[in-house]
Subunit: 325 residues, 2 copies
């Protein structure tokens, strides 16, 4: 009876039962009542077991759009940019907050198809990533890690709480090791960055970033009336904005800026940014971008032009704007 020394019996028995209940429920279409009888327990316990199975990621549910259901306009976009588009249905009446929330939830579910054991996922931070992180669907993985793509400290706060909260949600959902990146989002002086980038502790993180299998990011935009987190929370000052405008920047990924044509070289701000150069990002084999809201459309067009995206998760209305090109 005294078995608590082992990790197995207490929690593991629960997993075993949950697995069995889930199998009977989803694979054999038994009702919870019937399952309760088989497991010699009450129906409510079965309900809880199945909830647990879902929450623990023992059950995977996906909605698949048959290829022939994809509109030709969308097909053209996909072919042109070598991108897989996941359309998130959101009523036109929804406000930006709801929209972001729902896209985030869908993105979180879709993500589970792409992330698995032995993988490294790089993630940016921002309002979009925050939304995604709040809806992550747990999934058991081993030997996987999450690495932060760009620093979050700014002149007002260290940004640690905000970014690390996002990071740790990812870590918790996948049981992955979390690698933070404790540097400012932007350096005041490019030289400081150069120097710091030679530090071994920093290079360790940069190396992990270079080897990541999946990159997950939202898009920032300086143009919108509802700008991203970066543009409102003390990361940029007036001269920075002027610099971005002068460079014709339309958006950013992990605080690295690009123009409408997708180019990002010669943007002075990028020399001071802690995010990965976009050429490097483009070498990651899967690059998942989450976009919500029409205000991000110019940024999205630029990101597509820069070939930054392999998988795009976007709300319906924004996508429709894109189709009109």
């Amino acid at each position: 009876m005294a078995t608590s020394i082992f990790e197995h019996p207490p929690a593991s028995e629960r997993v075993r039962d949950a697995l069995r209940a889930a199998h009977l429920y989803y694979m054999q279409d038994l009702t919870m009542e019937a399952i309760a009888a088989e497991l010699h327990t009450s129906r409510s316990s079965v309900s809880r077991l199945i909830s647990y199975a879902r929450e623990a990621g023992l059950v995977e549910i996906q909605v698949k759009t048959p290829a022939e259901r994809i509109s030709t306009a969308l097909q053209r976009i996909q072919d042109k940019h070598h991108v897989t588009v996941h359309v998130v249905p959101v009523p036109d009446s929804a406000n930006e907050i709801d929209r972001l929330e729902r896209v985030g939830m869908s993105a979180a579910r879709i993500l589970n198809q792409y992330f698995d054991s032995n993988m490294t996922m790089g993630i940016a931070w921002g309002s979009t990533m925050s939304a995604v992180s709040r809806h992550l669907q747990p999934k058991v993985t081993h030997n996987s890690q999450i690495v932060q793509l760009n620093g979050a400290a700014n002149t007002r706060t260290t940004g640690i709480v905000y970014a690390s909260e996002i990071m740790s949600r990812f870590g918790a959902a996948y049981g992955a090791y979390v690698q933070q990146f404790p540097v400012p989002a932007f350096f005041d002086d490019p030289a400081t960055k150069q120097v710091l980038w030679r530090e071994r502790s920093i290079r360790r993180v940069l190396d992990i970033q270079k080897r990541m299998d999946v990159a997950l990011f939202g898009l920032g935009t300086p143009l919108s009336e509802v700008p991203g987190h970066v543009y409102t929370s003390g990361y940029l000052d007036e001269s920075d904005f002027q610099s971005l405008t002068a460079s014709n920047v339309v958006g950013d990924v992990a605080t690295v800026f690009y123009r409408a044509d997708g180019s990002s070289s010669d943007v002075p701000m990028n020399l001071r940014s802690s995010g990965p150069p976009l050429e490097q990002l483009a070498r990651v084999s899967r690059r998942v971008c989450v976009v919500s809201g029409k205000s991000r459309m110019p940024a999205l067009r630029g990101a597509l032009a820069a070939k930054l995206i392999t998988d795009l998760i976007v709300d319906e209305a924004t996508l429709h704007g894109l189709l009109d090109d």
Copy 2:
């Protein structure tokens, strides 16, 4: 308003709505009530749409056993025979009929992970395959085909109705082309088989069989008190049974017999069988075997010894018998 000339509007609009409803339900966790409001329809219609989405294979649900939950005994079996085992939970109290039904249902669901567009699946026939066929989960595929592995005619009937019913259920579930194999299960004279096998119409089918990507089969057993379909329905006569006994046969796959050690050469009956030689079967990249009931255990041991199986779907009780080796 008059658009019924096109194939699109009538049925396709339904698919579109079903897809949207399913997405909102499974990916965004909305209640059917909320979805009804978004789609401007009643809650009951949404319930029906989502049912339809499930039935049409637009939604895929799978229960995944985390690797660390697999018992070491099972792990040993898997490693030894290079096989992936899917355990189907069935209460010990269940009778053989229920057991078969439930294993069949689970097998049908699992199968969807393995069969997709541009694939050819070979299937045997028998009581197990019949059970599987009755529970197939539809899935949209293109350019796929189902090919019958062995003939079904016998001295009493042409077996066409029985086997072709199984076949066509598979075809319907996957939208696949169905290739029947209109020959007897066993020839009276091996020479007849040799001659027929040279016919171009027959060789076409044999060629398709050789190129199949997935083989799906149950196991026959001559030993059981509850024998498989082949052993009870006029396929074999008294002398055939004696021949099998003399050859120490423990089971068959698609009416090709093997011994406990997995060997199948020198079994005279096989010269007259219409099924694919086991050496040929073993070259198929995925070979899914469905087994239900302890009576099939000797047949299962033999099939494992013959390395016929890459994926085994088996009820819990039968598996436990196997683990005691």
